[in-house]
């Protein structure tokens, strides 16, 4: 589904990603871990098409298409979803209205008719249950005055509404208490299928107790320095990142 080859990216002339290679197949869950500043969030943003980052080399193939050719909105319409670490507030725009606009643009892209009000509401109700989110929250201005947990649940709700092929969760666990974490994780798990894939970007192993990855990759200084299965995450939890850093430095 997703094939990243030697991806390099920089922001304001500073090189952050220095040759990422990653293969993600449909039905898989990949965890990207690593110490602070290793480039995890940058990778998520670059995949989503944030303009602040300049891709200086490499390629990203998504379902046979060159993802780098697309703007952020086109990528979203092709099925890439990013659950933001810090969801943005948009005053005066309700989540409901926001989702209606987004969903209909995506449908238009696929040559489908806009959803009528009844079908839209039905879909909303269905997805609301998934993340235990309340109707009143969706009528409020998007993310404005939301608690940390509400923001993250709202991200997963949006993901459920848009049914992406590739979901990237950027530090979705940050700022969540254990109950919120469980709700969010349950939502993500419920959305998993053979047709879609998930990339979980996280600093801690904690989230991976709930969303169990097929593969774990450790990012350090803009490169994937180690890959393994979920046991790798446990090892990191136990031993921290220092031994990875040492190994990487030794190889360099």
């Amino acid at each position: 589904m997703l094939s990243i080859k030697n991806l390099q990216a920089s922001v304001e002339e500073k090189e952050i990603l220095r040759g990422i290679n990653l293969e993600v197949k449909a039905g898989e869950v990949h965890a990207i871990m690593g110490p602070n500043g290793s480039g995890k969030s940058t990778l998520a943003s670059v995949l989503a098409g944030k303009e602040d980052y300049e891709v200086t080399g490499g390629e990203i193939d998504f379902l046979g298409k060159d993802l780098l050719e697309f703007d952020a909105d086109e990528r979203a319409r092709e099925g890439v979803f990013l659950a933001f670490q810090y969801p943005v507030e948009i005053p005066g725009v309700s989540t409901t209205n926001f989702m209606k606009t987004a969903l209909n643009q995506i449908r238009e892209h696929r040559g489908e008719k806009p959803l009528d009000a009844v079908s839209f509401l039905k879909r909303m109700k269905e997805k609301m249950k998934l993340v235990e989110i309340d109707q009143s929250l969706l009528s409020r201005s998007l993310n404005e005055g939301f608690s940390g947990g509400e923001k993250k649940r709202n991200e997963i709700f949006q993901m459920a509404m848009l049914e992406p092929k590739l979901a990237i969760l950027d530090e979705t666990d940050s700022g969540l208490d254990i109950d919120a974490l469980r709700i969010v994780a349950n939502g993500v798990n419920a959305l998993k299928s053979k047709e879609n894939a998930t990339i979980v970007v996280t600093h801690y192993q904690r989230l991976l107790d709930y969303i169990v990855p097929d593969y774990v990759h450790v990012l350090y200084k803009g490169r994937i320095v180690k890959s393994g299965t979920k046991e790798l995450a446990l090892e990191l939890e136990e031993k921290g990142y220092d031994w990875i850093k040492e190994e990487a430095e030794a190889q360099a």
Binding site: A48, D73, A76, P91, F98, T101, A102, L103, L162
Partner: protein, 481 residues
Amino acid sequence: MSNDDQILEEFTSKEYEFGWTVDLEADEAPKGLNEDIVRFISAKKDEPEWLLEWRLDAFRKWKEMKEPTWPNVHYPKIDYQDIKYYSAPKKGAAPKSLDEVDPELIATFEKLGISLTEQKRLTGVAVDAVIDSVSVATTFKDTLAELGIIFCSFSEAVKDHPELIRKHMGSVVPISDNYFAALNSAVFSDGSFAYIPKGVRCPMELSTYFRINAANTGQFERTLIVAEEGSYVSYLEGCTAPQRDENQLHAAVVEIKAAANAEVKYSTVQNWFPGDKDGKGGIYNFVTKRGICEGDHSKISWTQVETGSAVTWKYPSCILKGDYSVGEFYSVAVTNNYQQADTGTKMIHIGKNTKSRIVSKGISAGKSQNSYRGQVQVMKRAENARNHSQCDSLLMGDQCGAHTFPYIDIENKSAQVEHEATTSKIGEDQIFYCQQRGIDEESAVALIVNGYAKEVLKQLPMEFAVEAQKLLALTLEGSVG
């Protein structure tokens, strides 16, 4: 080119959608302004002697006055002798029914998206359309007449209801109130008059559509709305103008009177030609709008969406004379390219327990300058006056300006006056967030701006709100800061 610049570039190259002119044979006054021109206009309109004297008085006062220089706007000096002060589409006498209206005129209105035909009955809007200077047709007059409501062109009102006009005209905005009001009083050509009798709730929105067509013509319309005791009316005003290289002057006067327990809602969507992207052409929109809450428990509410004009100078105001009277001002003002707007309101609290509320949302883009100027005045006997003002500015790009000039003047210690102000930029983060959900850049900006302006837009009647939303989106397609 950075993303911002690119988007701004796209946005600033958007063209004015209503920039076309129609070839209508016009009956015009020669350029220039003197007593003869005033007499010419008055004669053209077959006015009574008292009105001519009124005009001449205004003209003489205007000659003694100086154009104001205090607004935060800059424009080349206007040559008042280089303007035509009267232009009427030529086609015989005033039409008796829609069938008699020039088909080309009807087509003009249809291009504007307003139809004078029976279609409007479905939407419940009665329209008084003003093209250049003469009111062309007024719909639904009969339906309204049954309720005793008068809704007609100003000229007709002068003929048919001289006592009402004579009594109320100039009583809220006196002829010497300011330079542009004096000019209007001298040369006003037409406009609308609405009269709602005691205890009557007007069953439909009354609507005026202004449009400046002839080149080099100033449009000087007057609107007078009189709401008698316990009555209610919602009045809509929409404006567009064709695209021309020269600047055109528009100096209107709107007067509203609300008796005890009466309520008047006045909504404007102003979309005069703003000039091209280099700042060439466009309308000078110098308007005096004022309402007086004369009776106790009366209410006047102004809502405006200002997207057009090269230069705007406009402060719809409320004089809260009656006890417990309420004044409201809701405004969205958008400026782009080289547009300049200096707009706001005055709330003058005279009666006891009077309340006013001001919500102003400025949006500046391109190289434009957008100023809010507001005055809250609480007079000595206005016990327990309340005011809440909220003035927000939204900036797009780094070449525009937003300014706030609040004046507060309080002579009674029991007053409670609050002023809140914020300035923000449309964030690239907000745009990216929308895009990441599949929403294209233009729609994202429209969504964010409409969200920002929501508090004001929701004050508009439904049909107008939809138009205003589209207009905001159109004016601000794809702009970020």
